[in-house]
């Protein structure tokens, strides 16, 4: 399907760059026009999100000590944020620099990493890479805190080259892994208990121990010097293969499954023109013709986090964010707990019998009758917008809310029949019989509702 008209394009843009948009958000971004909407998304610092931060502040305090609170904090943020692209990019980097709380243990380390990823999400890739290299959670996760001159541990160096910057076997050799590992030796985490009762000391930074740092010359990607971590990250981030690796990922997350070499060259040019700027690459992608081409339309299978966050957001169920990790877990994903350092495989791997049932069962749960805060009051929602006159009006309003309206007439017919048919609809009866709740269940479980 072609994306005809600016409204359709902006809705598509919001599906990709955020986690489901409320009707108010759709109007807000439509009023800005496509270029204005992209500008707004790329400048989150200009959007006041203090009301959301005020809601999150007390959860953050708990999250320093408790894994469930840590999950509640991010799920609630995803359901409420007014800076959708910033969150989408934070989520992308979490998947990219995948780190798991199971090994890291201390939730405050994971929280600090999450905040580091958010702070650097749209900045220079070089800075982000160095921040991640020195991130305490990452140093535990990939053992770099144990990497010392006398006995190098090459875990971080290997995964950094393979998964974070260049791609498996691209432009580097086993020798580069070993030499880069030597350059990263000697770093230690500094953490302090802010309260004697703390089980989980807060990481305040990292320090280098000169005796444990290998200060001799190394040759990394063909360049020789007495390199330290900052040098290595600079050398790597200056490689065209690194720009291509990150650029490809951005095209795939936001636009099309198979970016061409010419498209990747465009993001690479933006990357190098602006000192490894992630924001500049994103601007190229989001303003490209390819972004709005038929090949870009609704091919991405939403991850459980995206599906759940989008549903809670669109239905006004942020309150459910506190336990949303149970919902995503049943669908095969828990934030801060990727399957391994490669992140979530994504795409079709999200879909198997177990996970489609879990998605349907989540849709059932959020449309149960009479559980305020945990499930949505469909009748109340429809009354508030005056969509009560006919079965078609109800169905079209809900379809527009969840999937932006685009659905085949056969499915639309089934939905209208669920409400008793075009000729026998009565709003009060439908409310009493539970079919208003039921029709939203059917929309949330449509295959189309899992695509973005």
């Amino acid at each position: 399907m072609a994306l005809n008209g600016e409204r359709a394009k902006i809705r598509h843009l919001l599906r990709r760059t955020g986690f489901g948009a409320t009707p108010a958000e759709v109007e807000e971004y439509v009023a800005l026009g496509l270029a204005g909407a992209v500008d707004r998304l790329l400048a989150p610092e200009q959007v006041d999100d203090s009301a959301v931060e005020a809601i999150l502040a007390p959860i953050r305090v708990e999250a320093l000590q408790d894994r469930q609170a840590l999950l509640a904090l991010w799920h609630t943020r995803l359901a409420l944020t007014r800076r959708p692209l910033l969150e989408k990019m934070t989520y992308l980097w979490h998947d990219h620099f995948a780190t798991g709380v199971r090994k890291v243990g201390n939730p405050s380390f994971m929280l600090v990493q999450n905040e580091t990823l958010r702070a650097g999400a749209l900045g220079r890739f070089r800075d982000l890479l160095l921040a991640v290299t020195r991130d305490p959670a990452m140093m535990v996760w990939l053992d770099n805190r144990q990497n010392v001159a006398s006995a190098p541990n090459e875990n971080y160096a290997r995964e950094m080259l393979e998964l974070f910057t260049l791609g498996e076997g691209v432009a580097y050799t086993e020798r580069d892994v070993k030499e880069a590992a030597r350059a990263l030796t000697g770093w230690k985490i500094v953490a302090e208990k802010r309260d004697p009762q703390d089980d989980n000391p807060y990481p305040t930074g990292v320090v280098i121990t000169p005796k444990q740092h290998d200060d001799r010359a190394k040759t990394v990607l063909g360049r020789t010097g007495r390199w330290g971590d900052e040098d290595v990250m600079r050398i790597i981030s200056e490689r065209p293969e690194c720009a291509a690796y990150i650029g490809r990922k951005l095209w795939q997350w936001f636009a099309v499954p198979d970016p061409t070499p010419a498209m990747i060259a465009r993001t690479s040019a933006a990357y190098f023109a602006d000192d490894t700027s992630i924001r500049s690459m994103l601007r190229v992608v989001l303003l490209s013709n390819e972004m709005y081409s038929p090949a870009a339309y609704r091919w991405r299978i939403q991850s459980p986090v995206e599906y759940v966050a989008g549903t809670l957001r669109m239905l006004g169920l942020a309150e459910r964010g506190g336990k949303a990790f149970r919902d995503t877990q049943a669908m095969g994903q828990v934030l801060f707990d990727p399957p391994n350092v490669g992140g979530w495989p994504g795409g079709e791997a999200w879909v198997n019998s177990n996970t489609v049932l879990a998605r349907a069962n989540f849709a059932n749960d959020v449309t149960r009758i009479g559980r305020p805060g945990q499930s949505v009051d469909v009748a109340g929602m429809l009354r508030a917008v005056g969509a009560t006159a006919s079965a078609a009006q109800v169905v079209d309003h809900l379809l527009d809310l969840v999937v932006g309206g685009d659905v085949d007439s056969g499915t639309r017919g089934v939905l209208i029949e669920h409400l008793g048919g075009a000729n026998h609809f009565n709003f009060a009866q439908a409310e009493k019989a539970g079919t208003l709740q039921g029709v939203l269940y059917l929309i949330l479980t449509m295959p189309l509702a899992h695509l973005s």
Binding site: P152, R298, W299, S353
Partner: protein
């Protein structure tokens, strides 16, 4: 209202046929929900095959247990007699006195008492030094190679998936293969075979709000109908990258498989005490499927945590003990059901680890390691040759002695009666793994 409650009357109709006919029917342009949809609610009327009616060959089951992260083979099957081993592992070497002897200078990790029992019973075969040429030390690449049994980049099918496709004509149950867990491994990816993934049997249902029973039934009905309609949206495949048809087909198969499972699972009770661990509970679910009438021929279980770069010993011993105790309980359970000889379990990991320990009392990524074959038809004991710790490759890693694909080939040929070439694309010398 489009339906009356009494329209859910029983109507014997094979559900497989129902799905296929359903798709054809919608494809013909029908608008109103047809009668076949009602048959789906008539769970009890369906004919169910019984295991006892199956031939011996058809009763054979393959269970795969994947140890994710790269298990350290040298501290699993330990060359206790080799001084070079102890030298390479100043803090991690396990001595002969505490390890569980297998003979020929080799011994099992002390935590693996369950598998030692299976070994002593002649139910455990240990294939030594399993790997492949030009080994990758990347978890992802190496796992893909093992899963796909191919060196092709971005392989789309796994070796078991291709085995399922090759034998699809013999048995067409939705449950002929099952993954115990949320994520389907590449091993099971196929061109034409649905594989259900099941976390736990009781949770494997399509829930509907129970407060209004009539509406609950209609939710299920509407779910099936919309999936059916969107499955037929194949014409629009190009527009949605093919994902719409894929999602809806999976949704339909998933629903149908829940109906099958809940019928078949009635009456299972474990005949052995399983430890309270995720891997044991996955194997217990596998036993439940195997002892049902669903015709399950493959079960896949994944467990992880073997990437022991630091402080390896406690972690690895724990994991190996957990796996080993779970396997013993599984085979005790199967023995009571008279199925222990039907069920062959393959235990593998993507690579072993560096011979020399690192500075963190751990080990980095390495190469070859042991594979275990348990149960059905297995010739117990040691197979193949233990790679020498004294003769390593340029990277300080073990040289493999047996190609993992010849282990697969032996299973494919000797347990499934399929030509390994049809699955692996080339021939491999079979190993004498089975009696």
């Amino acid at each position: 209202m489009p339906y009356d409650d009494d329209s859910f009357a029983s109507r014997p109709l094979d559900r497989r046929t129902f799905i296929r006919r359903g798709i054809a029917f919608v494809g013909a342009g029908a608008m109103t929900p047809p009668a076949f949809l009602r048959a789906v609610f008539d769970e009890q009327s369906l004919p169910v095959s019984t295991t006892s009616a199956l031939t011996d060959a058809a009763k054979r089951v393959l269970v795969v247990l994947q140890l994710g992260g790269g298990n350290d083979g040298l501290n699993t099957v330990i060359p206790v007699g080799d001084p070079a081993y102890a030298r390479a592992r100043p803090s991690l070497a396990i001595d002969a006195a505490s390890a569980l002897p297998l003979g020929e200078g080799l011994a099992l990790n002390p935590a693996m008492t369950g598998m030692k029992t299976l070994y002593d019973r002649g139910q455990l075969g240990v294939v030594l030094g399993v790997g492949y040429p030009d080994p990758s030390r990347s978890h992802f690449r190496s796992m893909d190679i093992w899963h796909a049994a191919s060196f092709e980049e971005h392989a789309e099918t796994g070796w078991i998936g291709r085995l399922l496709d090759a034998t699809k004509h013999e048995q067409d149950s939705l449950w002929r293969a099952a993954n115990m867990g949320a994520d389907e491994p590449l091993s099971l990816a196929s061109r034409a075979s649905f594989v259900p993934s099941v976390g736990s049997v009781p949770a494997y249902v399509l829930q509907t709000d129970g407060r209004l029973p009539r509406e609950a039934a209609r939710r299920t009905q509407g779910y099936v109908e919309i999936q059916t309609r969107q499955a037929e949206a194949l014409a629009r495949q190009a527009e949605y990258g093919g994902q719409l048809a894929f999602l809806s087909k999976t949704g339909l198969d998933a629903y149908q498989s829940t109906v099958d499972l809940q019928i078949a699972a009635k009456g299972y009770k474990a005949a052995a005490t399983y430890p309270n661990t995720p891997v044991a509970s996955a194997l217990s679910t596998a036993a439940q499927l195997i002892s049902s009438d669903l015709g399950t021929g493959v079960c896949y279980v994944t467990t992880g945590g073997f990437d022991t770069h630091g402080n390896q010993s406690g972690t690895q011993n724990n994991l190996l003990g957990t796996v080993s105790n779970a396997l013993l309980a599984f085979y005790d359970d199967l023995a009571v059901r008279g199925r222990a000889n039907d069920v062959t379990t393959l235990v593998w990991t993507e690579f072993g680890r560096r011979v020399k320990e690192n500075g963190s009392r751990g080990t980095d990524h390495g190469t070859a390691g042991p594979v275990f074959i348990v149960g059905g038809g297995v010739k117990g004991g040691l197979h193949g040759a233990q790679p020498s710790v004294g003769s390593l490759d340029d990277n300080g890693d073990l040289k493999f002695s047996t190609d993992f694909r010849s282990v697969y080939a032996s299973i494919i040929a000797q347990r499934f009666g399929v030509d390994p070439k049809d699955v692996l694309g080339q021939s491999f010398a079979p190993l004498p793994l089975f009696a």
